[in-house]
């Protein structure tokens, strides 16, 4: 597609819809060259020496914009960052030159064990200093600005002395990193912790948002019978999240938006349709607020 090719020459992701790239869809995407804003991959899945993953990613990347999204750097870790992992990441980014790199405000490794989940961080001065040092270390090593993703969480900590939004605001201010605003995570965390999602989003440094994530969640209940939403990435984007996304775009203007799906992966056209749905909402925002977008 000419539009994708043109968009890819510009720095950064285009303000369009994108989809997570899954091995199930490699061949179809390579043959069909779908009209899509960008693809996103999990960095760790491509930290292998050779074979089909690199074969397909190399060819698909030549046709499309790319976001590389890390899930294993453990930026919220109590221990120093894994230098070996950082080197692998630098090598991968060097190879594919993605338009965007992002990671999570979370931890996953401790004591040499990788727990394969995005675990929550308490918000206080000590963790703030540590997260900032880690984000700066990543940006220095990778020689680029990273986007930090707000987490979906199920518990809070007695040790926290700051709100999550204040914590993120301070990380962005001190490190100059950007923000990956996961609107599904906002919805999940705000339901789980009884907060107002729009107030949360409004209190973030929205100038720093470089990308949005949308995904599906699962429903559960806590010990008191109150709703407990789980960030499962296993279903279509929920209406409540689409609504929150539209309100978010009213504040942000058109923003690169990824449809995340990691479980129960449907046929590619189903995901593409969700990406196009995001683009339709972006287009509506554009018409509604021409001055703000131009500014």
């Amino acid at each position: 597609m000419t539009t994708s090719a043109v968009a890819c020459r510009a720095p950064g992701l285009p303000a369009r819809g994108g989809v997570g790239l899954k091995p199930e869809h490699f061949r179809e995407i390579l043959v069909d060259r779908p009209n899509i804003g960008f693809f996103e991959v999990h960095a760790e899945n491509y930290m292998v020496d050779g074979g089909p993953f690199h074969h397909y990613l190399g060819r698909i990347r030549a046709n499309h914009c790319l976001s590389i999204h890390g899930v294993g750097l453990s930026i919220g870790s109590e221990s120093p960052l894994d230098e070996q992992h950082l080197n692998r990441l630098a090598h991968l980014l060097d190879r594919y030159q993605p338009e965007s790199f992002s990671e999570h405000l979370a931890w996953a490794s401790h004591g040499g064990v990788f727990l394969n989940d995005l675990l929550p961080v308490p918000y206080h001065a000590e963790t703030l200093a540590r997260v900032c040092a880690h984000v700066s270390q990543v940006q220095d090593r990778l020689k680029r600005r990273m986007l930090l993703e707000n987490p979906a969480t199920y518990v809070e900590f007695a040790a926290s002395t700051m709100t999550e939004a204040d914590f993120i605001t301070e990380v962005v201010r001190r490190t100059g990193c950007g923000l990956l605003l996961d609107v599904n995570n906002v919805h999940v965390a705000c339901v789980n912790h009884h907060r107002d999602p729009l107030a949360y989003i409004s209190s973030l440094p929205l100038d720093a948002v470089g990308q949005i994530h949308l995904a599906g969640f699962a429903r559960d209940t806590d010990a008191a019978g109150d709703p407990l939403l789980i960030d499962s990435h296993g279903s279509p984007v929920a209406q409540a999240v689409w609504d929150l996304y539209a309100c978010t775009l009213d504040l942000l203007g058109p923003t690169p938006t990824l449809i995340e799906r990691d479980n129960d992966i449907p046929a590619f056209p189903v995901l593409l349709a969700e990406a196009h749905q995001a683009e339709a909402i972006m287009a509506a925002v554009k018409t509604r607020r021409p001055q703000e977008i131009a500014a």
Binding site: E44, N45, M47, V48, D49, G50, G51, P52, F53, H54, H55, V71, G72, L73, S74, S77, E78, S79, D82, H85, R88, W107, A108, S109, H110, G111, G112, V113, F114, L115, N116, D117, L119, P122, Y154, V155, E156, F157, A158, A159, N192, H193, H194, D220, D222, A223, A224, D226, L228, I230
Partner: protein
Amino acid sequence: MSHHQAFADSLLAMPPACPPGLTVWNRSDPARRFAVYRNNVMVSLIDALADTFPVTQALVGEEFFRGMAGVFARAHPPRSPVMAHYGDGFPGFIEDFQPAASLPYLAGVARIEMLRVQACHASDADPIPPERFARLLSDPARLPTVRFMLHPSLRILISTHAVVSLWAAHQEDDIGSALAAVDAAQPESALVLRAGLEVETYLVKAGTAAFVQRLQAARSLGDAAEQALAADPSFELSDALGLLLRCGAITGLVP
């Protein structure tokens, strides 16, 4: 104890535990919410093993497999964020896993599956150009001393059970009939290799397996053939070389 140590320990603990210092807006029991993290960790690790070992799972059934994988995951959680190779210790674990002792071939089938994943992600390399190999064959005096460069994905497995046939039966449409035809007590050897993008699994004779293992240890063609013949009097060098060439296992000659 550090905050993360308590949290990490509670994630994997049996019976279920909950770390101190968690709060919930409605003052409900945080253990119920912490269980989401416990579940995420265990399900993701067990799912990763199920992805790598589908035939192993088919042989024991999903419920048994997930139970066995859970015991493994608690005892041997990943040490690296690169999950592609998680489970390389699983076949060895299965070998000593008492509840699976009635299936003595299970660990061998799991080994084939792990080798296939390793082969899938191994470095790329092109097969030796046919004319280069033809030149080598035209110089019989040099042949015994030649040493081959082999494809990085090449793996050999020697088993006391019919693990290749058991694995192959699960690739058939009618798995039941295919399995019924397998004598699990027969020793078998496998050659696993990624040719292009596809991982192939070949049933090979004991001599061929010994031959390739010798070549992998950087021994000369003559030495490897001698060892292969000692291991298996029916070993035919031309057959073994023919297979290696056909499947793209030879990528060059060591200068």
